[in-house]
Symmetry: C2
Subunit: 414 residues, 2 copies
Amino acid sequence: MGLNMVAAHAKWPEENDAIFGLAAKAKQAIDTYGKDNVIDSTLGALVDDDGNLICLDTVFNELKSLPNAQIAAYAQVAGQEDFLDAVQTACFKEYRPEAYIKAVATPGGTGAVRHAIWNYTNEGESILVCDWFWSPYVTISEEFGRKVTNFEFFNEKGEFNISSFKEKFEDLLKKQKRLVTVLNTPANNPTGYSLSDEEWDEVLNIAKENAKDPENKIILLVDVAYIDYAGVGSERRKFFSKFSNLPENIFVVIAYSMSKGYTMYGMRSGAAIGISSKEEIVNEFYYSCMHANRANWSNGTRGAMSVMTNIAKDPAKKKVYEEEVNKYKTMLRNRANAFVEGAKECGLDILPYRDGFFVSIPCDNAKEASAELIKENLFVVALKKGLRFAVCAVAEDKCRVAPAKIKKVLDNLK
Amino acid sequence: MGLNMVAAHAKWPEENDAIFGLAAKAKQAIDTYGKDNVIDSTLGALVDDDGNLICLDTVFNELKSLPNAQIAAYAQVAGQEDFLDAVQTACFKEYRPEAYIKAVATPGGTGAVRHAIWNYTNEGESILVCDWFWSPYVTISEEFGRKVTNFEFFNEKGEFNISSFKEKFEDLLKKQKRLVTVLNTPANNPTGYSLSDEEWDEVLNIAKENAKDPENKIILLVDVAYIDYAGVGSERRKFFSKFSNLPENIFVVIAYSMSKGYTMYGMRSGAAIGISSKEEIVNEFYYSCMHANRANWSNGTRGAMSVMTNIAKDPAKKKVYEEEVNKYKTMLRNRANAFVEGAKECGLDILPYRDGFFVSIPCDNAKEASAELIKENLFVVALKKGLRFAVCAVAEDKCRVAPAKIKKVLDNLK
């Protein structure tokens, strides 16, 4: 092994990001075969039919017209006050829970997820995540010496698996008396699933039942990174109002991101929003996150905060911004519909898609399947339990034909 | 106490940032008494004589002329490759050490400091920092369950206290066998001190002597946040070349920030740069920081990286950028000279200033002194061991008269 200089807990395998590697291969294929002949469904960003990253005009016009000092200056450690108001409205819209609520600015949704896991768990404990998940939940947990337990996302009928959730939730809570559960909904990455309002009721009933033991500390971390592309109006935000008047030992943290809804992936802005029926619990959250902000990245990206605030404050700008987002939301839904219909036509088994950037195809040999699909110039990300197809990155006509190509490769591997 | 939801390690006092509070008071005084009658020396950012934040035109013209997609897109987890080259050149200039070197993008210098402390220490261990220090070193250490030991920065003659450094350094190393030492130089915050090349030799000789024990792991974290305002040419970078061919159990991490040199405080960009005589040690560093990037903030601010890279690549832009920085470097030096001369004239005892944004005045009762000075409409930050005067934020004529005002208040408190 030789000499190590890093502490043992910070020694990690010399691995580069697999998705970036795959995206580079896709780019190579496009250069060689022409973009009409390649389906690049790797990156999790909204791309137009010509393969160009979509950047909302309203957002970047606003950013570029900010006075320099509003980009240059340090933001406050917790975030600018007007941003911390605006981000709550952007997140909840008309479904703000009746509760004490405080927000803290973070770099994207990742910073909020990181704060929730670090601040609300102890070393060695497990967080609970479903078995179709965004892999950085594991990276974050491992980085901090935490573990990850999975519940099964779907039952045999392809519905949300509430009994698996209950079992794992109660197991861990019994053992730890403290549990952070991650729910990445609506528009789950990688499946595109969104919990229905009834499923949310079931989840909250289980949480409330377990909250009767006052020793239990129940933290629900709701990652809504893709919420701005979920549903048609704001109906996919209805579940937020269910966080009203919860027992005081149920604490909810929302991880909100500006990356997708404002197409500001590279500006690193978002927020952790804490919700409690008790004021001292949200204050505790606020100061805990503020300390963590200071200790990790000092403060957030000031210009990104101003963009959200300025758009929120100006009704005319807000209207144009919302129209622009909605245009792309419709584009995305058309692509997803094309993929889902294509899958139905050819008999490809996919997970139930509701909203968002991705569709997932369950299979046993995802790595092999991905490698075979590369030969067909179709690039998808291999997960543990299947393939992730990024409808956000692929034109509608290609979304329609991709399922049959995938089906053929999967059938050949059987 | 009532119910806690956060884990015990993440419970922090409900305190807001003291400097922001003081700055708000200063702003109030300016509104009441007029800006000619107030000296606001609170914030650590370069401000023009009228009290406006200085934003380099070359930097913000470049940012605002970037294609939207270059701001919108995710950066790679470790940072864009061309940025990781450019930032090394920006940091070392002609004094690049002969060594294996790798950089990772971080949000400002803070992210790099955080990575060095987290990745290179174990829980419960102490890092070593001098007794005039930037307080987030303590915030970061406490956040992660690490401790801070101070050595005395200056001896009775007002010189760098190498014997105090040696004593504490060897004490901790004996106990821990692993030690992260923070050296915030050149242009130390809060004193303005810069270690001379001879003092660097002394530090490195002590490190090398202790590196003879192969069990010792010696990490030097050099925080160069203010380096772009140090010295006249690049002579204050000469010490970098001393990191050539070090013993393999001495590892150097440079925390480089774009905040000051590019007046991009609010864009959160910088880098951790690792230096070792052994390739596997810098690779280990790189992958350890990449994992930590992914687990804390995912990736860095893409637009800020492009600004540095584009300026570095274009000789004409680079020339104009350097002229612009140098103009403000001269302005800053004139202000500091005025303060130092003013102090000499009235007999105010100050710490040896060499470079940078701040001058420090040692005193026993800093909080009381700061409160008294507020009554005189002079706003300075109280530290444990004295007052910090931000010459970066105060016009030259005010810098000249401030020392006498401070002297008077301190004399009255005796």
